[in-house]
Subunit: 470 residues, 2 copies
């Protein structure tokens, strides 16, 4: 049958205000935001209800039409961008953006998949609760996409990945059947926990339409310390001390090198050198509590004072106001943008058993230098989770094409080192199209076989997000 | 082929010190500790290594011999007790009891499945860390069984169920293949999270042989409050206030009725009436922190003082010493034993959306009273998680056979009410044999179909723990 006919059947079933087929209308849905991936599609669907999603998927499955679910398009691995097949249907959740409930006794938030994460965070805040999932793209990313990719962010060290915040979810399976798992129960020990398969499945098993999330007490009392360290090993010792002394108050533990700071000071506006001298590395820690700012500051000053005495850091600056707190965070947050301004580069979102980070950094650097001694290292990340953004920029004077030309073998070397240290080639960004080859080569064959079996079980026609992940 | 021949082949493959077949030797492995279930088996295996487990399962799968994994035998649903088939092989993990590592930088503990939970808790404590999983049977239960049943306990309100503590696991699949998922990474976003299927699978998908768990900062500073409340609704309002004000410090929020206290005072030794008068209900709260006992007590006294003023509780006693703290906990901990001493009764481990607890308790009581107005209610549980142990004792003067004779229709009524309120028929004890019928009748058919598909995928010969869960 012709594609045109299928689009017409979609329109007949869902209405012309849900189905878009004009090239101009669908063009914005065919590329990722970084412009790394571009695909094709015969139609874009923008359903308003779970029932419309169900009807759409049933039609697609009946005719074997591939479906690409789309959230806020903030992913870094191309999971929400269609491949080159002109048969694709892109299914956007952006119109399903209602908050269904916020409950301050059960401490739950139930929201449709298309809700913007930042809006949910603000709604929880207004209700007197904290939704701790927080990441750079939170004012564009959608909660359905966050769950489908098991997003991480800056608060994982305290609250865990998105997976740990999900109490329940509603999804439409490729058959059009609705998975009614939108439970808010804190405890439910009745059989295999099927929702776990959908979390982090990157759209390959179905379309998440709504989620139930845990809320936490608001932690409005916050203090930030920027500590200077001589090495990643020292940052580890400092982490051990902080973890022990501050307990659950420790809600961010971010690391960046002196080279990262250099880049930020060069490219970002409104940032200042934090200390009188430059150090090899920096750790940004945030502590937060429900109340009593004086007690929190006193605790932090005591712990940092002892750490300085015991040689666990070289220098430290404690935020004394919200403005100072934000200024210190800005040094960390501007790194990605500063690196972008510096030109094309290679990103590696990897994780390691945290105690191996110093050894990994040394041996990975050696291997990269063997390939090209001029490569510049910009390494930062969620150190408390063992998560490094191990980013590499071209040698001074190298052409802009360097990343495209030499990137593959440099990335191979980095990911091989990660694998050798028992780490993960994707800590928080997922697999998508970007890391599919590395994923298929490094994952245990038994796990790949089980994943493929689950894929066949849930999506027998193989229509969900082809070419991604598996 | 004869069973005897198979046992001989097992012995040839594993050695006579691993395979036990004499009736006297295997008798202790055929019943659950409560004496509710009894089954048969041709052999008991006590392997010492993952490799031995692998060889055993490969042999069993090749000949279609059913395998029943066995941990500490502390489950309440008969999941570790073989059924009536004389072909069963019971596989005990008790000899696999080594702690492989405790890491205070990564904050991880790696242990073999047969380790006793209490021993792991003490080992973590000695290393300066907290393993928060804590439950009545912790000095008998094995960590492999805790993970296989996704155990709960008293600290779930702060730290989550066992599932949330598991970073990785190693398991032997029914084919004998080893699932090498014993990772300690905090972040690993590479495909479907397969270990989630094994957690809570009650031995139906394979044998867990080792686990990697998260550790937390020690919270040695502890305070307990026993508050008297007029109703479950008041207990809810008090919970909302405590959650907001105390944040992560709140690590237990337990409820019990005045009738439960009555039973404890009647049957337990060394317990005292906590207040000058009896109240309708009680809440036991534990707050804990890494340091500064004075600050914790001050916070609690402020919050409880305001709660008393605002009518969120009727009376309150704060522990001023470790002895007082333990005495208050004893009032809660002795309930199960006191009820056992009182005679046969019906246990229901259920969970509810927490905000519905007051309405559920009212309507469930009404339905039970309609069946028999003399039934006595002993209701307690992990209120902060929405988890009630909704236990019922026979009417005064009813024969001991009452539970066996009338139990089924009373349980049907209770679980039907749970279902009506959107709750779970098993909050933390699992399904096993005990709740299998109710599970199969109440679970969504789509979920049951997916679970059956996963079971076929992982255990195509259907040898793992037949008659349990699915």
């Amino acid at each position: 049958m012709s594609q045109n006919t299928f689009a017409e059947r979609l329109t007949a079933a869902l209405g012309p205000d849900v189905v878009f087929t004009r090239p101009d209308d669908i063009a914005p849905w065919l590329a990722d935001w970084r412009g790394m991936y571009k695909g094709q599609a015969q139609a874009v669907l923008r359903p308003r209800t779970t029932e419309e999603v169900s009807r759409a998927l049933a039609l697609c499955q009946a005719e074997g039409v591939p479906v690409v679910p789309r959230g806020g398009n903030t992913g870094l691995c191309g999971a929400a961008t269609p491949d080159a097949s002109p048969a694709n249907v892109v299914l956007s959740l952006d119109r399903m953006n209602a908050i269904r409930s916020i409950d301050t006794i059960a401490n739950t938030l139930v929201a449709e998949a298309g809700c913007i994460l930042g809006n949910l965070r603000r709604a929880a805040q207004e209700a007197g609760r904290l939704l701790p999932l927080s990441l750079a793209a939170e004012d564009s990313s959608q909660i359905g996409g966050n769950v489908a990719t098991n997003a991480g962010g800056v608060n994982v060290v305290r609250y865990g990945m998105t997976r740990e915040l999900v109490l329940g979810l509603e999804a439409v399976l490729p058959t059009g059947e609705i998975f009614h798992g939108l439970r808010t129960l804190r405890k439910d020990n009745t059989g295999y926990d099927l929702k776990q398969l959908l979390i982090g499945s990157e759209g390959t098993l179905g379309v998440i339409t709504a989620v139930a999330l845990r809320l936490f007490p608001r932690t409005d009392v916050r203090t930030v310390v920027l500590a200077a360290v001589e090495s990643p090993a020292q940052a580890l010792s400092l982490y051990e001390r902080l973890f022990q002394a501050c307990g659950a108050r420790l809600q961010a533990y971010e690391f960046f090198t002196g080279d990262c700071l250099d880049l930020v000071l060069r490219h970002a506006e409104g940032v200042q050198e934090p200390f009188a001298q430059r150090y090899p590395g920096y750790v940004l820690m945030e502590l937060a509590d429900t109340e009593d700012e004086a007690a929190l500051t006193a605790l932090l000053e005591k712990v940092i004072g002892q750490a300085l005495e015991d040689g666990l850091c070289l220098d430290a600056a404690v935020s004394a106001s919200l403005a100072q707190l934000q200024a210190l965070w800005k040094l960390r947050e501007e790194i990605s943008e500063a690196q972008r301004a510096d030109g094309p580069h290679l990103k590696h979102d990897v994780s390691l058993p945290i105690e191996t980070i110093p050894a990994f950094m040394e041996s990975a650097q050696q291997r990269v230098r063997e390939l090209d001694p001029g490569i510049r290292f910009y390494i930062f990340g969620h150190f408390g989770d063992g998560n490094l953004h191990y980013n590499l920029s071209r040698p001074e004077g190298a052409p802009r094409e360097w990343a495209a030309r030499d990137g593959a073998r440099v990335t191979d070397a980095v990911l091989d080192e990660v694998h050798r240290y028992g780490g993960s080639i994707s800590a928080e960004h997922g697999i998508g199209q970007l890391k599919r080859e590395h994923f298929l080569h490094t994952k245990d064959p038994l796990e790949l076989r089980l994943m493929a079996g689950i894929k066949r079980l849930v999506d027998p026609a193989g229509i969900m997000n082809p070419g991604k992940l598996l």
